[in-house]
């Protein structure tokens, strides 16, 4: 975001002086919060869980826990962390604060990929769908990166991305309608954790190695954010890193869309908030981004399950709604 450069008021003005940080709550609070959210996620649900039964490692409660609640918790945490990290990487690659899979056409491309897989190769398994989703997402993101390399205005990039996503969505609609697929598409493309069940969700664990790889390359991704010339001066292979970053992003997007569906805005809000708080050095902030994403999604998921209990609001809606509102807030606050 464009901010007028403040006259040098003095050394490090406004950097380390946040009072609540001084109170030393830095490490303890987020950890405790995270644990509490996880626990809450395990406890909430449509079915009742007898706590007593848990201790015997048998019975219905245990089954609920292992077959539904724990996988769901894993999916929520991994998806949240993965999407947030994706957003951070995309923001460095495209050098823009407002990008994430939903505003670069990546989500829509992945959906299109899955659609194509379902219609052209109906008998194929999840692996094929995953591969196609990833391929479509990668191609769309590469095209978008090339196209927007020439755009200067900061806000223009996410606008272009949303348009691009709409066009891809229209393409998907066209394709789906012509094969009478449209009816079902809207439903199962929306992010929904209630479909997560042991035995069908495991592909989302792919997010873990991806996030780890991102952390290994964190310094390089921060360098990418400084532009091609600075990266070249420091001897970094700019194009190779961009492609690598987009591959990692596409893998995460494909894995999460296949398992859970599309969840917009999470990958955008979390890196921005962390950046406001702790700066842009990914080597330091990436763990926070991952944790923040997981927590945001845990909250959205809990919200979705509690609002109209015992029914559920899909997380694609809560995430989109909450995330969208936070995004709007960030935009308008940045305007000030």
């Amino acid at each position: 975001m464009d901010r007028p450069v403040a006259p040098a008021a003095g050394p490090g003005a406004g950097n380390d002086c946040r009072p609540w940080r001084r109170r030393g709550m830095g490490r303890a609070l987020p950890g405790a919060l995270f644990a509490a959210l996880c626990l809450a996620s395990l406890m909430v649900g449509a079915g009742r869980m007898e706590l007593a039964q848990l201790t015997t490692f048998s019975g219905e409660a245990w089954l609920t826990l292992t077959a539904s609640r724990l996988p769901r918790l894993a999916a929520v945490v991994l998806t949240g962390a993965g999407l947030a990290v994706c957003g951070a990487v995309l923001q460095q690659i495209l050098r823009n604060r407002f990008v994430e899979p939903a505003t670069t056409g990546g989500l829509e491309a992945a959906k299109l990929g899955i659609l194509v897989a379902l219609t052209l190769l109906p008998g194929a398994g999840q692996g094929v769908r995953m591969a196609l989703a990833m391929a479509f997402c990668l191609a769309a993101s590469l095209i978008f990166a090339v196209i927007t390399a020439r755009l200067r205005a900061t806000v223009l990039v996410p606008v272009a991305g949303l348009m691009y996503g709409s066009v891809l969505g229209a393409l998907a609609e066209f394709y789906a309608y012509s094969r009478n697929f449209l009816q079902g598409m809207q439903g199962w493309m929306l992010g929904d954790f209630s479909k997560v069940v042991q035995g069908s969700y495991e592909v989302v664990w792919l997010v873990l190695p991806v996030v780890a790889a991102t952390y290994v390359f964190a310094r390089r991704f921060t360098l990418i954010g400084m532009g091609a010339e600075v990266a070249a001066s420091l001897g970094l292979g700019y194009r190779a890193m961009v492609v690598l970053g987009l591959v990692l992003v596409s893998a995460t997007v494909a894995a999460t869309v296949i398992t859970v569906g599309a969840i917009p805005f999470v990958g955008l809000v979390v890196p921005n908030l962390v950046s406001l708080w702790r700066g842009d050095d990914l080597t330091r902030t990436l763990p926070m981004i991952a944790a923040g994403g997981a927590m945001l999604l845990l909250i959205c998921d809990l919200l979705g399950r509690l609002i109209i209990w015992p029914y559920e609001v899909p997380v694609g809606l809560t995430g989109g709604g909450v995330g969208g509102l936070m995004f709007l807030f960030l935009i308008l606050w940045g305007r000030r």
Partner: protein, 316 residues
């Protein structure tokens, strides 16, 4: 070719197209087919002209060539209203009440939204356009999620009713709705006709307009009101049009370069109607109903718009 000549040519081509649309294959059952087609044509004309007029004048007010009411969230508000109505009134209530009542309510909501935009975003007279657009797009998505949430609470039957309102279609035109829309449209046109020269001056920008004696604030507010009604007319008559307004407006500027609104507005109308005719013909003849007008229009306009945005470095 001068702008006027282009317009004459376009209008002529349009007339031919319209004739083709109404008469094609009508020999089979003219008594039944032709009146229906005429009604569809009327809906295309009124709806298309409403889209064109509202988009072009909104772009003049906003001072740039990208923003249109659809993109700024007007249509999302309309859809939200529809879902709220469906949720609160249910399917039966909607068919009873949703007719004229829903129409009036839509107009009221649009007016309210216009006022909000006017006060909130055009406040200092200058609008940070890309920021506005981003806000509009995100707002559309957020409202979309709320709308989808509401849809969770309704039955499939009610959902079908809602769904049909959420897509462009000339099928659901009832005579009375067409009549009301046409009357409203004519009223707006008359109201706006006298302000046409002022519109040209507004296109010069806020400062220039004020130095030439135009009360900018009042003119903008008045225009936004008219635009709101136009959008209500077009969305309730034919459905949400998304990117079409941008396409129509920019093509009108391209075909009538340098001309005032006296030429661009009619040109825009012609383009919009032509586009609808073409899309409908393609759906019927080429795609054999395997797609819809909305999908075709959105696809074409979306792609065109992306190309436009990325080709030009400086947009305004």
């Amino acid at each position: 070719m001068t702008g006027r000549a282009t317009f004459a040519l376009t209008a002529f081509g349009l007339a031919l197209l319209a004739l083709a649309f109404v008469l094609q294959g009508a020999a089979a059952d003219p008594v039944w087919l032709i009146p229906r087609r005429l009604m569809k044509l009327a809906a295309m004309i009124v709806g298309g002209c409403a889209v064109a007029l509202s988009s072009i004048s909104f772009q003049t007010v906003a001072g740039n060539r990208i923003l249109t009411p659809a993109v700024m969230g007007y249509e999302a508000v309309y859809l939200l209203l529809q879902s709220v109505l469906v949720v609160t009134l249910g399917a039966s209530g909607l068919t009873l009440w949703g007719g004229s009542g829903g129409f009036l309510l839509s107009i009221l909501f649009m007016l309210g939204y216009s006022l909000t935009l006017d006060r909130w975003l055009f406040r200092d007279g200058r609008a940070d356009l890309w920021m506005l657009m981003l806000v509009g797009l995100v707002l559309t998505m957020v409202i979309g999620t709320v709308t989808q949430f509401l849809q969770l609470r309704i039955s499939p039957g009610e959902f079908a009713i809602f769904q049909s309102a959420a897509q462009i279609s000339f099928e659901r035109v009832e005579p009375w709705r067409l009549l009301v829309s046409t009357i409203l449209f004519c009223v707006i046109c008359l109201a706006g006709w006298r302000g046409l020269p002022a519109l040209d001056v507004l296109a010069l920008g806020r400062d220039q307009a004020m130095s030439l004696g135009i009360d900018h604030r009042r003119a903008v507010r008045r225009l936004l009101m008219l635009i709101a009604v136009l959008v209500a007319v077009s969305t309730s008559l034919i459905g949400p049009t998304a990117f079409m307004g941008i396409f129509v407006a920019n093509l009108a500027y391209a075909l009538a370069p340098g001309a005032g609104h006296r030429l661009t507005l009619p040109m825009g109308c012609a383009i919009a109607v032509g586009m609808f005719l073409l899309a409908q013909l393609m759906v019927e003849r080429l795609f054999d109903y395997r797609t819809t007008v909305g999908i075709l229009v959105n696809l074409a306009c979306g792609v065109w718009f992306l190309a436009l945005m990325l080709r030009q470095r400086s947009m305004i």
